[in-house]
């Protein structure tokens, strides 16, 4: 059994239910598996958001709930002395609140920044997947054992967080992962983790195509072709009812060429770098 959480960035609306439930469970209460989360300054369930785009005409926000990833081979465990960090049989990574005292190296080792250093208690702290609740036979006994989940997952209204056994292909979490685009966070590239991020966006390019300016008309149905200079990979789009085009999931840091084609008009060529999300502006066609 390998317990994990799938986190779907597309379904997440950054409603902060997971964040609040996590604080509700862990702030102010010590357990054997974790010292209490301080009232301020730590975010065991951290909702990382970034604005996507560089023009008010096309802006999106990426929302990525980010707890400890419970790595298969945790860097924090390697940095820990005296077995202060250990991985349970169910895959949950635990920082022992007694043994870890004074070991700042544990917090520093996390590539994701998901371990917080408690200056007052001299303790590294993080998400423990609510392991103490999962272990407690009395917790939710009024409902039944199958209802036990980490608090963040239970509080999510959108099914953006799904919990279960990653080793069981029939589990809900395995099915969700199979159905979606798995997008490992860049900081954890190449690592196997028990928290699996889905649909975390890479980079988009977008724009709007208009007929010649004096016509005051958007151009519907213009063809957009994006070619990556190095790899030759091609992405295509067609302008929608608003003259807008957008290509998501572009490879990062590529120089690309964009060609805009509409029959009867001169093709337009643009270039861009996919360092970050860009709106390439309002493009006006001219007669061929």
């Amino acid at each position: 059994m390998r317990l994990g959480i799938a986190i779907d960035s597309k379904a997440c609306m950054a409603c902060y239910c997971c964040y609040t439930a996590c604080k509700d469970e862990h702030c102010g209460y010590d357990t054997k598996l974790s010292a209490s989360q301080p009232m301020m300054g730590q975010f065991w369930m951290d909702i990382r958001e970034w604005e996507r785009g560089d023009d008010s005409r096309h802006i999106k926000v990426a929302t990525v709930p980010t707890p400890c990833s419970h790595c298969a081979d945790p860097a924090c465990m390697k940095a820990a002395k005296d077995g202060a960090v250990y991985k349970r049989d169910d895959g949950i990574v635990i920082i022992d609140p007694v043994k870890a005292k004074g070991q700042k190296a544990i917090a520093d080792a996390c590539p994701l920044g998901a371990i917080y250093w408690n200056e007052e208690k001299q303790l590294p702290q993080k998400c423990n997947m609510c392991a103490e609740l999962l272990d407690d036979p009395n917790y939710l006994s009024y409902l039944g054992a199958e209802y036990k989940k980490p608090r963040c997952v239970e509080a999510c209204p959108n099914g953006a967080l799904v919990f279960g056994d990653l080793d069981n292909p029939e589990s809900e979490v395995s099915k969700i992962i199979a159905k979606n685009r798995v997008t490992q966070l860049p900081e954890l590239e190449g690592k196997e983790t028990n928290v699996v991020h889905l649909n975390v966006p890479t980079v988009f390019l977008s724009g709007t195509v208009y007929y010649p300016e004096e016509m005051e008309e958007v151009c519907v149905g213009a063809k957009i072709k994006i070619t990556c200079r190095k790899s030759g990979e091609v992405f295509e789009a067609i302008t929608n009812d608003f003259g807008d085009w957008e290509v998501e999931w572009l490879p990062k840091k590529e120089n690309v060429e964009i060609e805009i084609v509409k029959e009867g008009y001169a093709p337009i060529k643009l270039t861009a770098l996919t360092d970050t999300d860009h709106y390439l502006g309002m493009t006006y066609l001219t007669k061929a």
Binding site: A11, M13, A14, C15, Y16, C17, Y19, T20, A21, K23, D24, E25, C27, G28, Y29, S36, M39, M40, G41, F43, I47, E49, E51, G53, D54, D55, S56, I59, K60, V61, T63, N138, Y142, L143, G144, Y147, R151, E154, A155, P157, N158, G159, Y210, M215, E216, E217, V218, V220, N240, D241, F242, G243, D244, M282
Partner: protein, 891 residues
Amino acid sequence: MAEKITHSICVGGPIAIHTEDGVIRRVRPIVFNETDPKGWTIKARGKEFTPHRKTSPAFIALTEKNRAYSYDRIRYPMIREDFVETPDGQNRNTDNRGKSGYRKATWDEALSLVAREIKRVQDTYGKESVTAITSSHHSWGLLGYKLSTFARFFRMLGYTQILDNPDSWEGFTWGCPHTYGYHWRLGGTEAFDLLEDALKNVETMIMWSHDPDTTRGGYAGNESTMWRHWLDDLGVQFIYIDPFNNFSSVKQADKWFGPRPGTDAALCEGIAYVWLTEGLYDKEYIAKHAHRFDEWADYILGNGADRLAKTPKWCENETGIPAADIKALARRWGTTKTMGGSGLRGGFGGVCRTANGTEFARLMVQLFAMQGMGKPGQNIWSGTTGAPMDYNFWFGGYSDPLSQIANQPIADKTAVNCVTQKLYRPNLPDAILDGHYEWYGEGFCGGGIDQEFTEHVYPEPGSNKVHLFYRYGGTFMGSMLDTNKWVKMYRSPELEFVVNQDIHFHGESRFADVILPACTNLERYDIGEFCNSGNGGYQSHSQTGCSWQVVVFQDKAIEPLWESRSDYWIFSQIAERLGWGEEFTEGRDELAWCKRFWEKSDLCEKISWEDFTKKGYYIAGVPEDWERHPGFRWFVEDRPCDTPNHKVFQEEGRLGTFTGKFEFVSESLLYWAPQDEVRTPIATYKYSWEGHHSLKAKKYPFHLISPHPRFDYHTQHNSSTPWFWEIPENRVYINGNPYLVARIHPKKAEEKGIKDGDLILLFNERGSVLCVARVTYRVEENTIHAYGSSGIYNPVKPGECSMDIGGCVNVLTPGRLIGDMVPGMAPNSTLIDVCKYDGPIPQGQYFEHKLDKVAKEGDADAETCVEIIEGNGFFHMQEKIKNKAKEAVKK
């Protein structure tokens, strides 16, 4: 450890509460098991849709534990330090209200003082000299909420009632009844059963001034979020129109338009121009169902009195949206099956709270009418209501007169107010300060269009002015406009005595002479239904904003903390001191009243009182083949109205206007207000009295928009829950004070030398508010966005009209009404300027020391505010209570 699980509801939704040793351990959503009914399944486009088997409360509901043990709880009865109980009510240092600290009082001392003052004032000036008003939604439940216990007490006492303005949906209340009726739904539409219709038919959603994941259908938590995900997955195109690229929009929009604030009515007219010139509207429907459409069309096309065609180019000049984009929007809307609406439940949204709010609301309805409103996939439906429900199950909502302890049948005797004099909330400070005020309307005008035009004068001829103000709740400093007007009112010696009864030490509490500490929902008994606002002149069936119909026994999870008491206890104690305690309670305690609601509703036929209180909640299931009454379908199909909230005349197939049709020239306005220049018989775009055409715009070039908050509810969660102060899109905690985020466009920020995270001052002639800059492309260059009502009112010089550091942006908004005959408020017609703040950074919050002082008087070992916010204060509080409970058990 002995763990107990009880249930409750708050404004964010229903919750399960885990209690251990007399303290609350955790708060969770209510998760259903196999004993609860099956949910509905909607079949559409080859798929089946059914909700999760749990309630989906908003995150604010999950803070209820923290709100209970919050640093800003009022722990003890308090009396203003320099209050003097002079026998004539004069020389009471009223000027120091807001400034002075408090001393701890005993309950007996505080209650006796309140009773004595009520008696003195009423004996001296008459019954009408006492006035009182409640806040909204700091608690939930048919017993404890404002229209029940509060109303019972004050109606029995006799008092000058303060009429609420329809603060969240002004333009719809004052505008739409003149276009399509529905005054009984306060201008909002009837969206019954439209979720299924949308899932089956809709192609385009117009989300106009609408951020559904922020306003959450009012009190429906996150229940409808999943519905919009379903629509998104079906390929439905979402178009958001809002000066702020809001939180739902940045995640879900296929297209965002950011019109210049207050110009949305111009955008409506531009869209109409395209439809009229290109024939993109339902001509047959309009011919049959519209009244004086051609006169309006003439106006749009440039043949009206102003001889100005509302072309896309004209529209571009007003709204800032390119003409080509306006045409594209009009065509997409005019050629696909389109549903949509404005704000919350479709008839709300920030635009309706502008100087042009009525005209926008009316024009939006007219646009939906032009596309055949009521046909499949064509309707006003904002994606937040209209889930299937069992219409045959009735449990009252808070506005239902049948569900209040003020009235029969819940009470044996109905409480009737003997005073006819009224006041009007938005202008309460004006009335107190000027001693005279006149206005039109009954506030919420659910009883008929004519109620909008009743004339009121204060003081009412033959009546005295008010001299005692009993405030229940304290959020108007934050949610009402022109805050400093309220400061001046509170300091006026006209108010000889001010009482505040609240749970937390809110902005207004700090101006009272006597403060009575009420307890939270978790510390008393109540009973209530999820998101049911009732049918007492409100929008009935609001619970169709939820996937599940849930009635909850709001059990007492813990004993009232410190010396706080339930509102019911407080009012019954005062009633007793006034000599009518027995009449007030009718011999019932809180639990006995709760049982009355069970007994007098359909609940008693579904579940026994014992089972209900043991289980804690009841889910009203939806029958397999539930009754369907899609909104407006009857109208399209020319049959008697069958929706569950209709009026008799609709059974003749008519709307609630004079002509029974969509009135493009309003006959009711021609009859009642033909000369009104703000709300004209033909709804038209008009320049705002505080907008980009005003002279003031030269000095204050930015529009401030302050929509309903995402991280708060009427200031009630932001102040009490420091966990929210570290949400980057909400606040930034600096030097012990949480500064509110204000959003500014990168280009304007650069011009002003402002960087993301800088402290910036928002200011105009009304005041100034210190915020933290969020530099973002999510607003256009002309707009500053900072959430309204999310203010912790926290002036640098308390009691004076000084700079605010709590984020109370209503310091900046205009206190005037939309128009003389349109008594709504318009916070989103505000002009300001901004600058980088280089002044000294204040330390902490200015009211905390007042609380700390009284807390220490009660318990030398008490935790200070800062210890609770940042340190281990919360942990210590719970430990102390646990130990006390354990000792009590030992004894």
